[in-house]
Symmetry: C2
Subunit: 393 residues, 2 copies
Amino acid sequence: MTPTQPHIASSPNGRQLPGHRVMLGRERPLRLDCGVELADFPVAYQTYGRLNAERSNAILVCHALTGDQFVAEPHPVTGGPGWWDLMVGPGKPLDTDRFFVLCANILGGCMGTAGPREDDPATGRPWGLHFPVITIADMVRAQAMLLDHLGIEQVFMVIGGSMGGMQVLDLAATYPHRVFAAVPIAAAAHHSAQNIAFHEVGRQAIMADPDWCGGDYLSEGRHPHRGLAVARMAAHITYLSEGALHRKFGRRLQDRDVVTFGFDADFQVESYLRHQGHAFVQRFDANSYLYITRAMDYFDMAAAYGGVLADAFRDTPVRFCVISFTSDWLYPTAESRQIVHALNAVAANVSFAEIVSDSGHDAFLLDEPEFHRVLRGFINGAAEHRGLPRAAS
Amino acid sequence: MTPTQPHIASSPNGRQLPGHRVMLGRERPLRLDCGVELADFPVAYQTYGRLNAERSNAILVCHALTGDQFVAEPHPVTGGPGWWDLMVGPGKPLDTDRFFVLCANILGGCMGTAGPREDDPATGRPWGLHFPVITIADMVRAQAMLLDHLGIEQVFMVIGGSMGGMQVLDLAATYPHRVFAAVPIAAAAHHSAQNIAFHEVGRQAIMADPDWCGGDYLSEGRHPHRGLAVARMAAHITYLSEGALHRKFGRRLQDRDVVTFGFDADFQVESYLRHQGHAFVQRFDANSYLYITRAMDYFDMAAAYGGVLADAFRDTPVRFCVISFTSDWLYPTAESRQIVHALNAVAANVSFAEIVSDSGHDAFLLDEPEFHRVLRGFINGAAEHRGLPRAAS
């Protein structure tokens, strides 16, 4: 298997992207939930570790809203560490000495996979709002096509946090025999009214920016950076707990002893948020943000199964480990419990851990020893059942 | 006492405003925390009920961030009911058959009181960002000047929710002998990092709008309506609990049976938020929003008293009734408890009620029978101690 690189992918700030990129759907197009068919579309992905001869040691990592395929290597745009560098690598919970870790930029993304930033083959110009609106299930169909391409019949594990966890649930439900174990983290089986509301604010901020140009900014050579930064700032607050914000920033002032009686960033938390906004727009595409948030809003697994979530998992052979964090108010534990209850209702093999953490939703990205310990335990148990070699001791 | 109307006030959408308006600070200017002095500045206010001969039955209502003086009458811009119509009127908890209810548009506001929308007397043009940055304490100083003007030495009660509650606390601390009873509702003695963060997002949304024109939009004949609408939408989510959003909207679709695979308001909650944004910009000024959110961010009563909140209330003769709501995550009960603990530490006369409600922060504006019952009880008790006549039975 030699991954093809049909043409060079670029990041939202125009930088050439390293890594793998394949064209999928040439023979059998991807039929999207909206009815449109995507043929011959790119998927960019990265791998860490080696696929064993039996092709049985693959771990598919599904990334979240603003993540990408650069899981465990310096990010090609920011230069910062990969978003799950703490989790993926030799001797880490997703141990690349044992497992073949794979992560693809999601459908609708902006780091090389088909999305509104890429060119529409029909016109040779960026898709923009002509890109079809996608769903989590569509993202998962593209993931399955990538597994086909790589010759992986069944992954040992699919794992992801937040929107990544939604993909984990959908993949396990739609392709139960292609998944040995599934780990949805800080996720939910549907998007709540509050989740939709926060996303709608972000979308409105982007669409209110005159540089959005009705979605056609790439053709116009403009960038709705101000709107996208505001969207990111609003979202970022929801990723942190009140306790984490208090601990990190409290009411401390930024490089000053007294307030300025003005609208500069007097408080550290303001300065931090502004930095988050400015950094984000360098590496993300505004239309991608619209499409991906929309896909999350549309996510409602029970609705797809006649209103009964348990029916999504009836007779599932998959081993589940559901993980939530105590201070996550965006995807609170109660929503993970709903998943666990559904799995229990069909007597699925499921373990559940609520991790005590004050870091909020973002805890799944952070150094949370108890979280990592739970995950190592689950992975080792599942690997044994799958007949994979033990970790080196 | 005949309130003067030096010139006609207008609303942000240019409509002439009814009601009272006085010029204050002509003889003794208002010295602001930032060091600037305001002389000869307008304050617009409304009254309901009659001041008794002893001038002892006044209730000062302090409004919240986006409130105004039109407490219990049709709003002159929207035509909707006054924001506390449920609370203020004959036979209602703030019974206008017994009490003289008074509410002034706050300093920095946009409904007739001095703020960035009003003309700077020095230039004859709108203040814009040349208006001095104000604090909650400055707002309260202006309230006290209005009481002076009206010849009211001591109010029977000062009451307000959210930012209104901050003013209640500051007024009781700064002018303890001018207040018989004080009712801070859904408030806090300081603004948390999360509160500041949400406000900063709103400010950035406004300032990102090119129609904001660096704050000079009024002189340019433009209006940053898109940015202000986004700010309002983000804030509005924080006023509701997740439960209230779920109960009101859930994942129900707006006037359609299936999703549209597009970026229209598919969900009721999206449609509702967009409506909130659009309606708000008709009645509010973007620069006012900047100034008032800033005043709230700066609010930290303990800091003003050497870090010890209790010192703000040492030897206070004021009777307090502190009220919070179980589902208010913006100003959670824990923050009201801090106020109660500080009052207890100085042996103040304080009662505390946490009202069970799933309506979130906005509960103080809604028909919450238990809240109204608690308030009636406190008012009747305090009125008896003050020697005011009982309610008609």
